[in-house]
């Protein structure tokens, strides 16, 4: 055990080497610890930054720096951030927007280009999204991204935007003498300004003096800025009186929460220190702000935020993929030297065990952070299926075939989950149609265990088919028995899961079955396995045709798991399927070709055996 822990530590240290701070800005890594309410859960600012940066840059690092550096520049010095070329856009969009070809674009460039297409974009918003062409969808998505970017940049505009006041007005408002003032400074003197308006409104235009003109000018600027008051994307101010809702800085001002203005004052000081690049003061103020934010919160929140930051940083899923690739390479190495074979076998098993521990850690961390079963989104169910398959390889004895299969399936699953999902903030809370934790846990988990075991047994039978094809004097061995065992196991969980879904639906909707696409998918899996097992018991299927039947289970799982989402109807439609369509079709075709060709060759070669 201690060896495994030691190995884990070494991998952790190697993987966790910090980036060298190449920027001239101060070290702002602690800003990550600020909690934010976003997309239904409280997460660290780090996750928010990574997720939003990934949307526009398709990368999660900003000039070899963490994306928190990008976010801080955007909220503290928006005008500087607007000029940074960070937007990565599609080639077609470059043509549509008449832009010069280059890799990255700045916000200003895109904003101007999109402004010229305002009419076209407004029309697109009125149309049904699913009826739009690919380029239209991309244009619309870019517009949404730009608006989102603008919203984030204006989150602290009550601090960033500066007003020029003349001496007279400064004296009139009793402000401290300095050249520029922010909205927050003037807000304190709101009453003086309002009183002045009352006086000015009674006067004739010709009688208004210079000071009053200045007051009107400032009020005009204030009202222009107040358009940004609707901005509530950056909910970083904790709730008052133990309520659940968090507030954005503008919401605090809009709703006159005077008690919470203190948070904004800290943010103002932070902005100042950020601009001055004063590391010492920055750290002091940030620590005070963090302490204030967590003051009335449970310690649990602090731990959660901290763990999520670590989870984001070490990106364990990528690490898992690399180790699986390494194990696969070691397993496929061929040497005749007994000494090397022994060493390689030991390394292989150690690494496999380490990966299983990392997998457990990932699943447990996600449960701890979301407080939900680890199967609430399609992404999570993918990871959970990978985990189930790893566990099955242990139940099925750790041997060469199981390790190879476990590695191949997991690499595939991790590749899909990393490529097609937002792999930075993939801890999402799905608004479950039925938000009941108990039923969600047992129904979805049993269905997912069913999926996992079906995929594993199907891959095992793929291998078995290859074995039959290769060996002339083939005899049905342990692999065949294992396929049977795991298939029965898969049927058990798929069936129980489907029934539990029915009970859940009965309790909530008053009906067991609604012929929803996902329900039909689950039924399809059950019927296919039942068909195979009954065919075997009744001797209507011989061993080889039984194995071929199990091979097809992969395609059925793909249809039931992902395929039904293409229909875009029903209560179970969720997850990421936009970019997956082609890959699923390719996988199905390749799998079909594999099964059909091998079956045909086996049939031709061993006609007698095939038929007995």
């Amino acid at each position: 055990m201690y060896k495994i822990i030691l190995n884990l530590l070494i991998i952790f240290i190697i993987y966790n080497i910090n980036y060298i701070n190449a920027n001239d800005s101060i070290n702002i890594n602690n800003l990550k610890k600020i909690p934010i309410l976003n997309e239904g859960r409280i997460k660290p600012l780090d996750t928010f930054a990574k997720k939003n940066f990934l949307k526009i840059n398709k990368n999660y690092e900003y000039k070899n720096l963490d994306s928190i550096y990008w976010l801080s520049e955007l909220i503290f010095i928006p005008n500087k951030a607007y000029e940074k070329e960070i937007f990565k856009i599609n080639k077609n969009l470059i043509k549509i927007l008449n832009l010069k070809k280059k890799n990255y674009f700045s916000f200003n460039e895109l904003f101007e280009a999109l402004n010229q297409k305002t009419k076209q974009i407004n029309k697109l918003y009125k149309l049904n999204y699913y009826n739009l062409s690919k380029s239209q969808k991309k244009l619309l998505n870019l517009h949404k991204k730009i608006l989102n970017y603008l919203n984030i940049s204006q989150s602290l505009s009550m601090i960033n935007y500066k007003f020029d006041l003349n001496k007279e007005l400064i004296e009139k408002l009793n402000l401290k003498k300095k050249s520029k003032f922010c909205y927050l400074d003037i807000l304190k003197k709101k009453e003086i300004l309002l009183n002045n308006i009352k006086i000015i409104s009674k006067k004739k235009l010709s009688n208004i003096n210079e000071l009053e003109k200045n007051i009107l000018k400032i009020l005009n600027e204030l009202s222009l800025l107040s358009k940004e008051k609707k901005n509530n994307i950056l909910k970083i101010i904790p709730p008052i009186n133990n309520k659940i809702l968090w507030y954005s800085p503008w919401e605090i001002i809009n709703q006159n929460f005077d008690n919470n203005i203190k948070y904004l004052i800290y943010w103002k000081k932070l902005t100042k220190e950020y601009n001055n690049k004063n590391q010492k003061n920055w750290d002091i103020i940030l620590n005070k702000l963090i302490n204030l934010t967590y003051e009335k919160k449970s310690k649990n929140l602090f731990y959660k935020i901290y763990i999520e930051i670590i989870y984001n940083k070490i990106n364990l899923l990528n690490l898992l993929t690399y180790i699986y690739i390494l194990i696969l390479t070691i397993t496929l190495l061929k040497t005749k030297n007994v000494f090397y074979i022994n060493i390689l076998n030991h390394i292989k098993k150690y690494l496999y065990n380490i990966n299983t521990i990392i997998y457990c850690f990932i699943i447990l961390t996600r449960i701890y952070i979301t407080e939900k079963p680890p199967v609430t989104t399609l992404y999570e169910s993918l990871i959970f299926v990978g985990f189930i398959i790893t566990i099955l390889t242990y139940i099925n004895k750790i041997n060469k075939i199981n390790i190879i299969l476990g590695c191949i399936i997991n690499i595939l699953i991790l590749y899909i989950s990393n490529k097609y999902s937002n792999y930075v903030d993939n801890i999402n809370i799905t608004a479950a149609i039925l938000n009941t934790n108990f039923w969600l846990t047992i129904h979805v988990i049993s269905i997912t265990i069913g999926y996992g075991s079906c995929i594993f047994t199907s891959f095992l039978s793929h291998y078995h088919l290859l074995e039959i094809y290769k060996n002339k004097n083939f005899q049905y061995n342990n692999t065949y028995k294992n396929i049977l065992k795991i298939l029965t196991f898969a049927l058990f969980f798929s069936f129980i899961g489907t029934i539990l879904g029915g009970v859940w639906a009965e309790q909530s909707w008053g009906r067991f079955w609604g012929w929803d696409p996902k329900e039909n998918g689950a039924l399809l899996i059950n019927l296919w396995i039942i068909l195979l097992i009954h065919g075997k018991i009744s001797n209507l299927l011989n061993n080889t045709s039984f194995i071929i039947g199990v091979c097809f289970l992969n395609i059925i799982i793909i249809i039931a798991w992902f395929g039904v989402n293409f229909l875009n109807t029903g209560l179970h439609t969720y997850g990421f399927i936009k970019k997956l369509e082609n890959n699923i079709i390719i996988f199905t075709i390749v799998d079909l070709i594999y099964i059909i060709i091998l079956s045909y060759i086996i049939y031709k070669k061993y006609k007698k055996k095939f038929l007995t």
């Binding site: 938000n435 049977l484 049927l491 029934i499 029915g502 009965e506 009906r511 067991f512």
Partner: protein, 63 residues
């Protein structure tokens, strides 16, 4: 959605909703099921069968 109304033997639950400016609507589905016990009985029977199948050591019939 999460809180269906049970009235006599009928169950009212929300299946969809329409959200437009100033006009919101909810779509309810009403169901009545007198024979739900059959579902439970059949499910239990299949589960027993599955457990027997899963725990049976002798799989001579299969091979």
């Amino acid at each position: 959605m999460n809180k269906p109304i049970k009235y006599k033997k009928y169950i009212f639950y929300q299946t969809a909703f329409i959200e437009k400016e100033n006009k919101n609507a909810t779509i309810l589905t009403i169901t009545k099921n007198n024979i739900s016990f059959i579902f439970y009985i059949s499910s239990i029977l299949i589960c027993i069968g599955l457990i027997i199948n899963l725990t049976k050591k002798d799989k001579k019939n299969y091979v």
